[in-house]
């Protein structure tokens, strides 16, 4: 019953774009989890991916470029009852917005962060991003890029994310499962989704030949050593699935404690605070 999570807006992604799969997987996950649309907030960045809020019948905040994480953090802090899911592009998440990632991770903010990693700036017509493979020719690198790409999984692990996964937009079922697990996870859940961009970097065939599921290999996602090892695998075989998962206190656990959720306006009787000024 993922239909209740959709809207009637015309979808303007290029036909065949990997974003469709992410949209579907997310709607499926919501349906499987039986979440009420009103309780869910989708925060999206600027880029092709960012339009996802238009296609989701859940609360939406289409924010500025690169700020999905602080936005989502603020929403979750203010109202811990909401299920907050951030959707970012690889440009959004790893170029302009990378400075927020280590902090959201180490704080263990209880949100899900889905990166639509198409390895290009899609909406601005295909320039290279921090995940573009070395040497690729794009409009801003007509003679090939000159920077080595980052490894998002290794990065997320090194900064202490408590749930680290990779999905593939060519496998909606598996992606649905990952998103469900991520939403269920208490704490910061990070999913880098290999998302083919049919217009600027069509990687369907490439990935189809290479991806395999960590679950199928009996990967132990409670071991950070194992996770680090798997994170560095990229080539003929590309692992997808949950690399790492651990349970630790969330930002809200530590910060809100048992306070009334901040969405409630509660004036303080300031007379009680006068002592130090007297």
């Amino acid at each position: 019953m993922s239909g209740r999570y959709g809207t009637s807006r015309k979808i303007v992604w290029c036909p065949g774009c990997g974003n469709f799969a992410i949209l579907t997987a997310f709607k499926n996950a919501l349906a499987n989890l039986g979440l009420k649309p009103e309780k869910v907030v989708a925060v999206s960045g600027i880029g092709c991916h960012g339009r996802i809020t238009d296609y989701l019948n859940v609360n939406g905040f289409h924010t500025i470029h690169g700020r999905v994480l602080p936005l989502a953090t603020g929403i979750k802090l203010a109202n811990p009852e909401l299920v907050v899911v951030g959707f970012a592009g690889d440009g959004d998440a790893y170029a302009i917005g990378i400075g927020h990632l280590p902090h959201a991770a180490r704080r263990n903010v209880d949100i899900t962060y889905i990166v639509h990693d198409n390895m290009v700036f899609g909406l601005t017509t295909g320039q290279f991003t921090p995940t573009t493979p070395y040497g690729m020719r794009t409009r801003s690198s007509p003679r090939g890029t000159y920077e080595e790409p980052i490894n998002p999984i290794l990065f997320a692990l090194s900064i202490g994310a408590s749930f680290v996964a990779r999905g593939f937009a060519g496998d909606v079922k598996h992606l649905t499962y990952l998103i469900e697990e991520a939403i269920k996870h208490r704490g910061f859940a990070f999913i880098d989704v290999l998302q083919p961009c049919v217009t600027f970097y069509n990687t369907y065939a490439y990935y189809r030949q290479r991806v395999y599921k960590l679950e199928d290999e009996g990967h132990d996602y409670t071991s950070s050593e194992e996770a680090l090892r798997k994170a560095r695998e990229w080539g003929d075989k590309i692992p997808i699935g949950i690399f790492y998962k651990a349970s630790k206190p969330t930002f809200s656990d530590r910060k809100l404690k048992d306070k009334d959720p901040p969405v409630h306006v509660k004036p303080v009787n300031i007379a009680k605070l006068y002592k130090p000024f007297m």
Binding site: T7, R9, P37, E38, K39, V41, V43, I46, R51, T53, D54, N57, V58, N59, G60, F61, H62, T63, I64, R67, L69, P70, L71, A72, T73, G74, I75, K76, L77, A78, N79, E81, L82, G99, H100, P102, H103, K255, L256, K259, D260, P262, V263, H264, V265, K266, P267, V268, N269, I270, A271, K272, L273, Y274, F277, M278
Partner: protein
């Protein structure tokens, strides 16, 4: 009744406890029934470097420091060198070295040593000497010291009391030599606090529940204070990774329905610029406190200035409504901050409270704030459930431009916002007719805000002293020195008017114009900046030229004497 008005200055190296000394003396004076204003200066470093604290004490309300000091407490030699010239003719120096006739030599370090205290504790001897000299009731002195050191344990309290007592007897020996003593006066309970404190209390009184700030002088004390009372006040205080994170988190929290606030100084505000437009476009209310320090760039981090007025008025791409409010004193810092939350929510717009180091870090005695006066008006909000049959539209077109605001989690409502131009439902669009509709809707809020500022009594204030022969025009913290200048001028026989513009955006042009029509020229503009930014607003909105500009931009606040002199010159001309 006796009229008392004197100043004391405590100077010493950073780390020598100069500020604490000054605060304790001030509080003792306050608890003895006197009014106090106090300001300070310190360089941007942690130890070493010269700090000073300047308190002014009076039987009547005191609005600013003054140039001459009656008591100069020198915790080091440099203080003497730097400030001796300020000593009034009847003034007294308190120091460890015999400098001159008018010096009270107190072997502070020796006393500390004798009592087994570290040298840095000598400052409490100084407190004693000052209060002895002023003939203050020793009980008050002990009380204040006890309160100040109580968190550090009983023993610390006792030793500091002893230190003060020793100093007291040195001071007492010269009691009366200033020509006055501070007899205990009847007066209600007062509070001694900074502009930053007042802002923080205003936010708490308004029901703010989350505060986000990346440390930045001179706004950091708000962070420190709110963090200290976090649990007591039942709020949440977050120090994010940057100002960009701070304002975006706050935007998320405000979207979710929390009253929240951020504070920073110019450099941090610069980083918030992009998100300011996001607030406007998503019609998310937020109170942003900008405590100015002199720029450009890092500038003078621990000093004061008013160079950011135009910047905050025009910051961020595109055109949109915003309030810019500049409190001029501590009471205004409190009440206007509290009111800022209402304005933000009623108009679903960012509100910038523009303060500066001088206001934010200066202390003043104030009457306890009247929380009764503070109402909570969240504007058009949808509580718990959307009940209409029409589907909820976050950006519903309305005649006043304000749409009912639901929060995510509201039953029956999907709250969709976007930083792109959008439909009433919050879907993206670039259709020109649609775009204009929503743009105009936002701009109608600006029209309403204009009416609001024209109607508000507190948008513009006038202070008349005597029969005015000139008008001082100013904004923000210059108010204090200007009020004192008015007193000085009146004593010299010059009546003046003072026009303080509190709401700078939207600019209350009709109101200002009407008031000014009744006030006499010469108009003298006084601002803590180099280009006269309020002056440029007067030209832009009223085509009005002032007659004289008094602009100070060395990072220091005005002395009332400087304003008085300028006015006198202008009137004489």
């Amino acid at each position: 009744m006796e009229h008392i008005d004197f100043a004391f200055l405590v100077g010493g190296e950073a780390g020598a406890g100069v500020m604490l000394t000054g605060r304790i003396i001030s509080k003792i004076a306050m608890r003895s029934g006197y009014e106090v204003f106090a300001t300070n200066e310190y360089p941007s470093l942690i130890r070493g470097g010269h700090n000073w604290f300047l308190g002014r004490v009076g039987t009547e309300k005191v609005y600013s420091q003054k140039k001459e000091v009656e008591i100069l407490v020198a915790l080091d030699e440099l203080t003497l060198k730097k400030h001796e010239h300020r000593l009034s003719s009847n003034g007294i120096i308190i120091s460890e070295v015999k400098k001159a006739e008018n010096a009270l030599t107190v072997p502070m370090t020796e006393i500390a040593r004798n009592l087994g205290a570290p040298p840095v504790a000598r400052n409490m001897v100084a407190v004693g000497a000052v209060t002895g000299l002023l003939g203050i009731d020793i009980k008050v002195v002990e009380e204040v010291i006890a309160d100040a050191f109580q968190p550090r344990g009983k023993q610390t309290v006792e030793i500091n009391k002893k230190l003060a007592k020793e100093g007291y007897s040195y001071g007492e020996a010269a009691k009366g030599s200033l020509g006055f003593i501070l007899k205990k006066r009847q007066s209600g309970n007062k509070l001694f606090l900074t502009g930053n404190d007042a802002t923080a209390l205003g936010a708490l009184a308004a029901g703010m529940r989350i505060y986000f700030a990346y440390p930045m002088t001179p706004a950091s004390p708000i962070l420190h204070y709110l963090a200290a009372v976090e649990d007591e006040a039942g709020i949440v205080v977050i120090q994010p990774e940057s100002e960009i994170a701070a304002i975006n988190m706050a935007t998320g929290a405000a979207y979710a329905g929390a009253r929240c606030m951020v504070a920073t100084s110019g450099g941090g505000f610069a980083l918030m610029t992009e998100a300011l437009g996001q607030l406007a476009m998503t019609e998310t209310p937020l109170v942003i406190v900008e405590v100015q320090r002199p720029g450009p760039s890092t500038g003078l981090p621990t000093h004061t200035g008013q160079g950011d007025l135009r910047f905050v008025m025009h910051a961020s791409q595109g055109e949109f409504p915003r309030f810019v409010i500049a409190p001029g004193d501590h009471e205004e810092s409190f009440y206007l901050t509290a009111e800022a939350f209402n304005l933000a929510e009623r108009y679903q717009t960012p509100v910038i409270i523009l303060s500066d180091k001088y206001l934010a870090e200066s202390y003043k005695t104030v009457d306890p704030f009247d929380q009764q006066k503070i109402t909570i008006d969240r504007g058009k909000i949808v509580e718990n459930k959307w009940k209409s049959n029409e589907p909820y539209k976050r950006f519903l077109i309305t005649s006043d431009g304000v749409s009912p605001r639901a929060f995510p989690g509201t039953e029956n409502a999907i709250v969709r916002v976007t930083t792109g131009e959008h439909t009433e439902e919050g879907y993206g669009t670039d259709n020109p007719q649609q775009v204009i509709k929503i743009f105009n809707k936002r701009m109608r809020k600006l029209e309403e805000m204009r009416k609001e500022v024209e109607a508000r009594e507190d948008a513009v204030k006038t202070f008349i002293a005597g029969n005015p022969a000139a008008t001082i025009i100013t904004w923000g913290s210059v108010k204090g020195p200007a009020l004192e200048a008015q007193k000085m001028l009146q004593m010299k026989g010059y009546g003046t008017a003072l026009l303080q513009i509190v709401f700078l955006g939207p600019f209350p042009k009709n109101k200002v114009s009407e008031i000014l029509r009744k006030l006499p020229r010469p108009y003298i503009l006084a601002e803590n900046n180099a280009t006269g930014q309020l002056g440029s607003l007067l030209r832009e909105h009223l085509c009005l030229d002032v007659d004289e500009k008094l602009l100070k931009y060395d990072g220091r606040p005005f002395y009332p004497e400087e304003i008085a002199e300028k006015v006198e010159e202008a009137v004489r001309r």
